[in-house]
Amino acid sequence: MFRILRILLIKDLLMEARGKEILVASIVFALLFLFLLYFALPITQSPIESTNGAFWVVVFFASTLAFSRSFAKERDTGSLETLLLAPVDRSLIFISKALSNLIFVAFVITIALPAFAIFYNFSFLPVLLPFLGIVTVTTVGLVTAGTFMGTLTMQSRAREMLLLLLLFPLLIPLFMGAVNASATLLKAGSTEEATSTWRWIFFFFDLFLPALMVVLFDFLVEE
């Protein structure tokens, strides 16, 4: 099973690598958004809250560029049928695509986070590990739901737009959890306080929803 997953993942990553202009575009988009938000937010009055909020908006929007192409390329070139003919469990196809999207988003965050530190004077270093923990659990939830919604909208006209409209209402609890938990962490500095109220949201988006999506994925790719 892990061998098949590895093969699928190599295929997905290879596809990402061949279309690397999308990754570059996502990163530039994140930087541009960071730039714009600086003028829109009251940075001088509440630096931590504004910066934290801007960071999450940038992460959520920049990642969606990856999701809309999840299976779009396979579908457009007709290789999706070939992929589905392969004698592999279809949930593995989904997991592999989600993992490759996770790596993509991790790249974007790796660039965005230092950029925020430089341009916004974002001081997350004192709570670096718990902060990265919140980033990780949020990204896992975001990427799973994003990959699934990317599959759901792959056959639609104007899929990028539709993806945003379907994904964000679904993810509002996760977004609220991420923003509030990290804001509490940055202000209070205690991990316990930051995660206690929002723990259930993260459980839902990191465990329950992914499990459900693996099951429901079968309904999306039956041809």
């Binding site: 056959q155 639609s156 539709l162 209402p169 509002i172 609890p173 609220m176 259930w200």
Partner: protein, 225 residues
């Protein structure tokens, strides 16, 4: 061609019943029930607002139920019933937001506050608008039915989490049925509340059935070559 005579008769009876109930409900809620102690006559919009909320959930509930059964049985009729539920749901969701905003302007002095229940209702509206947009963008009827059923199930399971997450903030929406902010209702008010609920609910069910029958007839119509 199958006829849906029984369905039309049931929907017709519901529509007639609600027509008979409405004058009674309006008399109860606009004349007989006393004005509320602090809000005065503005509180009367509650007699419309509450049934709209119940009908929103009735519509979305029907959509979720029929979507679930669709993925299992795969008959196009179930898809039609799910759409009818989602459409009626969006209609009353819009109305519950509108009536709530009118009331809020009077009671709280602002059209909108980011109160948990208001926020959650608004997110629900977005989710099911998205459902209709997804349907509109898919051409193949079988794919459309399957994909939108999956979305409806996801949206439905997300609803409790939405309510949980927005409740972590403290709300100001009155909880009329229980809790310390319970509205003290006189018997005449309770009577007005229940008759309005019944009248609107039967009316909403009639709309739901009519909409379903329309969809079923569309399904039977032969596609133009």
């Amino acid at each position: 061609m199958k006829s849906h005579a029984i369905g039309y008769v049931v929907a017709g009876i519901f529509a007639l019943l609600s027509l008979l109930l409405f004058p009674f409900a309006f008399y109860q809620s606009l004349v007989k029930a006393p004005p509320e102690a602090t809000m005065g006559h503005a509180m009367r919009i509650f007699y419309i607002h509450f049934p709209m909320a119940i009908l929103t959930f009735t519509g979305y509930g029907a959509c979720a139920l029929f979507s679930f059964v669709y993925l299992w049985k795969r008959t196009p009729e179930l898809d039609v019933l799910a759409v009818a539920g989602a459409e009626v749901g969006v209609l009353f969701n819009t109305l519950v937001l509108a009536t709530g905003m009118i009331w809020a302007k009077y009671a709280w002095g602002t059209w909108w506050t980011w109160d948990p229940r208001l926020t959650a209702t608004f997110i629900l509206w977005f989710l099911f608008i998205g459902y209709h947009l997804l349907r509109a963008s898919l051409e193949n009827p079988e794919v459309r039915a399957r994909f939108s059923a999956v979305l409806a199930i996801l949206a439905t399971l997300d609803i409790p989490i939405i309510f949980l997450s927005v409740r972590i903030w403290r709300g100001i929406h009155p909880n009329v049925l229980q809790g310390p902010n319970k509205i003290q209702m006189e018997p005449a008010m309770i009577q007005a509340w229940l008759t309005s609920l019944l009248a609107f609910w039967i009316f909403g069910l009639a709309i739901l059935i009519f909409r379903s029958l329309l969809g079923l007839q569309e399904l039977q119509r032969k596609p133009v070559p």
